[in-house]
Every structure is written in structure tokens, then in C-alpha cells.
Symmetry: C2
Subunit: 263 residues, 2 copies
Amino acid sequence: MTKGDDMSSILQTPQTVTTANVPVRTPSVGTGGVAVRGQWLPSADQIADWSLDARIVHLFAEIGTPVVVPRNGELYAEDGQVDNLYRIESGVIRTCKILNDGRRQIDGFYMAGDIVGLEVGRRHQYCAEAVCRATLRAVRMRTVHAQIEAGGDLSCALWEMTARELLRSQQHILLLGRRSAQERVGCFLLALASRIAGRNVLETANVLFDLPMSRQDIADYLGLTIETVSRTFTQLEAMGVIALESARTVRLSNRAALREMNG
Amino acid sequence: MTKGDDMSSILQTPQTVTTANVPVRTPSVGTGGVAVRGQWLPSADQIADWSLDARIVHLFAEIGTPVVVPRNGELYAEDGQVDNLYRIESGVIRTCKILNDGRRQIDGFYMAGDIVGLEVGRRHQYCAEAVCRATLRAVRMRTVHAQIEAGGDLSCALWEMTARELLRSQQHILLLGRRSAQERVGCFLLALASRIAGRNVLETANVLFDLPMSRQDIADYLGLTIETVSRTFTQLEAMGVIALESARTVRLSNRAALREMNG
DNA sequence: CGTCGTTTTGATCAAATTCAAAAAGTGTGG
DNA sequence: CCACACTTTTTGAATTTGATCAAAACGACG
């Protein structure tokens, strides 16, 4: 692993509030429970600014209004007015663009603790939908902007969030531009596992986790077709790299092989 | 054109200093001449903050130290320390990632007036090289950070720059994930033309412009091979969409067709 | 148990890659 | 100015990867 690695940024890293890995989040997807501290340590390479994170988390907890989006429901539309910033409490959100002939490209999947809807322009550049029923908290953008004006260097935190999104996008570009179907699926599974199961799990025993999204969603994220994704799962299973307990339940049996795919 | 359009953001828009189209830049690539005002109007959809732009341009003009990078020379390496922010005065810079087996993905091309090297983390996530001899001005990141601390809401400008990069990346993801070779090349040419010749030219007569980069660079940007890029140029020429005065000189003969490719 | 949506598998097809070589450009030195 | 070496671009033929079309298997749910 020398170049082009850092799988973790392909999907959301454990937290997206700033470049520091934020220690406040719900324990697992779907519980919507109380935030738990200290699950990840900020890497030395990242700017740690806990007070800002705490402030953002606090902002949503205090003045955020609850929003519930049903499975496949739309949080906001492409070209829609940017008026809220959301923090996910449970469930999974996908952001995507759709070409006028129906081709769809999923930009990213967002999970509990992640912030979605952050954009600088006035209109959303992509739409956001729920992969599965999601609960969120919304804060008006004008409130956020007011906070910025009020001097607290919240803008710095927003910048870092945007920068993190940019890193993720750049990894995605490399994946889509230069990786084979097998590598794409491998990278995706490894990144998703570290997001769902926690980074620490990657060093321990075989990880077992559920895929919250359909094969179609995975295909549209990886720039493949649903059939190719399905076949690739089968191939990886035949190679002994993964084991499919069910279509939506994956065990990573050979993480070394997966990490190798990262090139 | 309803969704997934805005070709212009695939490559650099005329200016990347903020979301506003900045009116200060050199007249054309390679001259390194004096900046000219008022070439583009900021679109209504973008946040115009001229004073910030002006401040950034001024910063580079006043305290920036000149840097010259020869053709194919490296401005900075992937994983290299982030210590400077650069503004291009002439020439073209590419940013790219390289997989350990040599596969390369170009993230973007940057031209006169663009800012390169902006990253939030401590280490560069990609390398930057000169497509052709480039002259730049460098400002130390610590100076930039000092400016931020000093209260001027420069961080807001940096945020907007990062956000603009993010938009570009998202367009690139759609291109790599869901577009055919022909569409990729078409989108690329249209975007490059509007970047080089100016947005206004897109509404007027047939645009004629030079490609500063090789077929290999284009291939690595579009996630294709050099042969496919070459064949696609030939196809587009046969279709009457473009005309190749020489390998590096392109005329867009049918911009409607190109714009249609944008879906 | 039957229906509906999702996933898998099979057969065929097409787009893009690979390997190979020719053609066109560029620059250098005689 | 031409000859030569070298790089870039184009073209051709064969191959491969992933897409498409079609249908079967599977799972959830009323």
C-alpha cells in the first residue's frame, strides 16, 4: 500500500463533521440511540478540532427539527433549493445524479452521524434519497450562515467537511476511471465494512455485516450493471475472498486480498 | 438539458478562486501577460464576492514567489507535504493519482488563473505536474492560515474554492461512471473549449482551439485508453461534430450535437 | 400459497482494450 | 535544408470485459 490507497475515504469515513474523526455518533445504524464517545482516534494526519464538532453536533441536537424519510423517499431533489443541512440519526441516504435518458450515478452513501445537504451554491447539484427508512435532523441553512456571521469559525468546520467530501470524490474518480469490476466491488465492500463495523474491526477477525443497499444501488455507485455486480459477488465468493450468508449479509474472509485490490 | 448538465464544471470553469467567475486572468495560456478585467459575468446562481477574490489575487501578486515547472515536471508529489498554495500564471497543470501497478487517473487540468494545491489535510492526496511548461506563484500555507486567523473571512473563500472543486469532481464521477467513450470525449472537448476560448464563444461561431495535453493525458482523464481516445476523435470527425486541423487543433463544428451528449 | 420485487445465472452481443505496426510530427545535427 | 532518431498519433486485427436480453431462483409478505 503506497499510493492510491486509503480505502476508507471511498465511502464515508466514520464521521464527516470535520477532518477529525468525530467521537460522537450513534452506536449502530438503525438504533437512533444516544451518542457514544471515543470510538475512533483522530489520525495524526488530520486536523483535530473537537470543539467545532461538538458545536455542530450540539446545534443539531438542540435546534434541529426531526425529519423522517421512508425507503426510497426523497430528502431533496436535484436542482432543489438548498435550505437545510441534515444530520443523519439512523438509516442510509444516497446522493445521485440522473441523466435525462435515465442513467443514474450514485455519488455516495451516508449513514448515522453523517451530514448531508452541504452545498455552497443555491441549488442542490444532486438529489438525496433514502436507501432505507432514515431519520434525520434538519437545521436551516440561514441559521448556519447566521452562526458563521456571528464569528464562531464554523465556516472552517464547513470547509473541512467539504474537503472531506472532495477526498472521497477523488477516490471515487480513481475507482471509476481505472479499476476493474472486481476491484470496484472489493474496494466498496472493504470501505463499507470499515464504515459499518468500525475501523478497528479491520484488524481483527472476519467481519460480518449487512448491506443496507440493493445490488442496483451498488451498481449505480460503482458504474456497473446489476448483473455484473451480482456476478462479481459470486466470483469473489468462489475465490474465497468473501462469503455470502445471504444476499445482503457479507463476511469478509480474506481481507488481505481485498486490501490488495486497492493497489 | 434538464439534469446532469453544466458541462463547464467538468474542467475548470474560467476561474476557481471563488464560486463567482473572477474577472482577473491572463488573456490566454502561455502569454503570462497582464491580467485583464471583465471577461466573464458571474452567474446569478453563484455567490459573488469580488473583494475576496481581489484579495486572493492581490495576495499572490504581492507576496507570491515565482515558480517555473518544465513540461512533465512535478509541482508536488502525492503524499508530499502541503506547504504552498499556487496560482497559475501560464501553462497547464494536471493533478493525478497513480496505482502501484502504474495505472494513472488524472483528476483535473488547471490553467492560468486557477489555484492548485489547496488541501485541508497535511499531505497531498494527488500529485501535480506540468502538462506544458508552467509559471506559477506560490504562497506559503502558513501565510494563508495566518490570514485566516487574522479574521478576514478568507476561510470562506477557501471553502468556496473547495466546494467548486467538489462540483467538478461530482461531474467527473458521472462522466466516468455512466458515459460512453464518445460522450466522454464530447463533454471533455466542450468543457475545454469553454475554458480556453471563454464561455461566450460557445454561443457564437465554430470554436477553434489547441489541446494543450496529449492523447495519453486525455485518456487518463477520461478513464479510457489512448487508442480509444484517438479512434473517438476520428469518429467524431467522421460524424461532422468536430474537425481536426491537426492532432492538437480542434474545431467544434456542431456544438448542438456536443451539447446533446451532455444528457 | 401466490404475488411481487430482488438476485442470480445463462447466452449472446457490443464497447473498449490489447497487441502490433504504420503514419505523422518534432527536434537535432550534419 | 535534409536525414535521422524519437515521440506522438492513428489505424488494424484479435481479444476481453462488461453490457444486454431473457429467464429462473429466491425471499418477503399478504
